[in-house]
């Protein structure tokens, strides 16, 4: 019984034999790369790149709930992108604007 369920999943038109599975699954790599980069110094963060990650994450999170069928896998991966992107942006903004304050005091 379990074997046939697994077989059904395995042979699904959006299953692991297809690009419909691997492309969205690999998209998690973007959030994972971002999390790895949390350890990097804020000077190395790229504003354009993180804005792109955040904007993509926000827009696609919205769209994955309005397509048919709703795609919660796509929703969750894009939510993670938006969250990690926003965190990286906040790190860099805090660094840039608090240093300015420090320089201004001098």
């Amino acid at each position: 019984m379990a074997a046939s369920k697994l077989q059904a999943l395995w042979n699904h038109p959006a299953g692991p034999k297809t690009i419909h599975f691997w492309a969205p699954t690999f998209k998690w790599g973007i959030s994972i790369a971002n999390i790895a980069d949390f350890a990097k110094p804020p000077e190395k963060i790229s504003y354009p790149q993180q804005i792109a990650v955040t904007a993509t994450g926000v827009i696609w999170s919205r769209y994955s709930t309005v397509i048919t069928p709703k795609n919660w896998n796509l929703f969750s991966v894009n939510l993670a992108m938006a969250a990690t992107g926003m965190y990286q942006l906040s790190r860099k903004l805090r660094h840039d604007y608090s240093s300015e304050a420090a320089v201004a005091k001098e």
């Binding site: 492309a23 973007i30 790229s46 354009p48 790149q49 804005i51 990650v53 993509t56 827009i59 309005v66």
Partner: protein, 97 residues
Amino acid sequence: MGSSFRAFLNSPVGPKTTHFWGPVANWGFVAAGLADMKKPPEMISGNMTAVMCVYSALFMRFAWMVKPRNYLLLACHASNEAVQLCQLSRWAKGNGY
């Protein structure tokens, strides 16, 4: 001329649909990559750039296979693939590979 534009506006992957604006958002990666080409290689994230190279390769295939076929998404990821490979080579050279 006007009618082909109208056909685009009403197409199943046109600007009235979600299939359009998602890919438009993804062009942000291309724009960001191009902007970052001017920066020194020390600023490039090897993690993110390598991931982008695989990600865009996969999504080029996805855009081709999805129904309806999404040429805008395909173009976006083809461009991103090029930009990210360029950045990856700049990063690699900057890191002694």
